[in-house]
């Protein structure tokens, strides 16, 4: 740790000077609690200024709660470790969604919570995902995708974007399924370098816990320099002594283990672990 007092009489050891971290880096590597209402909020209509971006019937509305700065929301945290986007999104109205648009580099994951997501990409996939389904789309050297709700009901999706560990990788699409019934009351890793996990080219792990009774467990980060971002999708969770309600979240760095306790009611917790 750097000396807090520059006027300290004690001479600094020769290797005590660390590069001064930028505010951005500090914000991406510091612990926090974020209440649901503290997230960014954007609402896009399929008409007017965003009409080339947002598809759908003239009455379509796409809403996005952002945990980190993204798009028009720039008043919050820049990210968390390798994460840059954590979007809690609702597509309302048949045809509502993102028209086909380009990406590079980012690894984009989508977790469908309700209704059905139709995903089309230039890797060659036309995919339809229902609750429990999730994908990882690594845009790499370039890829386009379209995200659309073709149903009348509201589509709820969690989008997570992470930096890649190499630039301009070959684009890749993988999809899998989280079975909330057979995985009930167990923490399951969905994305990451583990058996059964969808592999991505980054030191990030995404896990999910759906419980129907009070569960106590400890999340053990891979190392002391990994951070854990836990977001309560449903129910309530006590996370390292902090009570979290629906859509509250917390980012934790430097913990050897993180005690978790879910409420007795149906609870759904998404945990993203990331290298610094």
């Amino acid at each position: 740790m750097r000396s807090a007092n520059p006027n300290s009489a004690r001479p600094m050891p020769p290797n005590a000077f660390q590069p001064i971290q930028t505010i951005k880096e500090m914000l991406m590597n510091s612990s926090f609690v974020m209440r649901a209402s503290e997230r960014g909020y954007n609402r896009f209509l399929s008409t007017g200024a965003a009409s080339s971006y947002i598809g759908g019937h003239p009455d379509s509305i796409l809403t996005r709660h952002s945990s980190f700065n993204f798009g028009p929301y720039q008043a919050g945290r820049p990210g968390f470790g390798r994460l840059r986007v954590f979007g809690d999104e609702t597509f309302s109205g048949a045809g509502c969604g993102y028209n086909i648009h380009p990406h590079h580099n980012f690894i984009i994951c989508a977790f469908v919570l309700e209704c059905q997501l139709t995903h089309i990409n230039t890797v060659g996939n036309i995919d339809q995902l229902t609750p429990g389904d999730f994908y990882a789309f690594s845009a790499g050297s370039g890829g386009k995708h379209c995200e659309v709700n073709l149903k009348q009901d509201d589509l709820h999706v969690i989008y997570i974007w992470m930096m890649p560990d190499q630039l301009l990788l070959p684009p890749l699409y993988s999809r899998s399924h989280f079975d909330a019934l057979s995985s009930r009351n167990k923490l399951v890793t969905l994305v990451g370098n583990v058996d059964g996990g969808v592999r991505v080219s980054q030191d990030v792990k995404v896990s999910r816990l759906v419980s129907d009774k009070s569960i106590t467990l400890e999340y053990v980060p891979t190392s002391a320099v990994h951070g854990v971002y836990a977001s309560v999708l449903e129910g309530t969770v006590d996370c390292a002594g902090t009570p979290l309600e629906r859509r509250d979240s917390t980012g934790i760095w430097g913990a050897e283990r993180i005690p978790l306790r879910t409420s007795a009611q149906e609870t759904d917790l998404l945990i993203v672990e990331t290298a610094a």
Binding site: N69, H103, F106, Q166, L167, L168, L169
Partner: protein
């Protein structure tokens, strides 16, 4: 000419990469154009995200990338 190492910056709206070594000749930025010398009102050619919402990255290229690098050709 500055001796500073050439930088890479990524668009936080879509992931588009600007590499100072490569520039963007097709958008009027010759190879070697420093990020600081690009006008503040410049925006991502792919998604329109403003210049200020790019992030400097120190991520290595994947094998075989970038496909054409003027530094290699020189």
């Amino acid at each position: 000419m500055s001796n500073e190492p050439l930088k890479r910056l990524m668009c936080l709206g879509c992931g588009f990469l600007y590499d100072e070594a490569l520039g963007l000749p097709e958008h009027g930025l010759p190879p070697g154009t420093r990020w600081a010398d690009i006008p503040e009102d410049w925006a991502c050619p792919d998604c329109g995200t403003p210049k200020r919402h790019f992030e400097m990255v120190e991520i290595p290229y994947a094998l075989g990338q970038p496909e054409f690098c003027p530094a290699d050709a020189a």
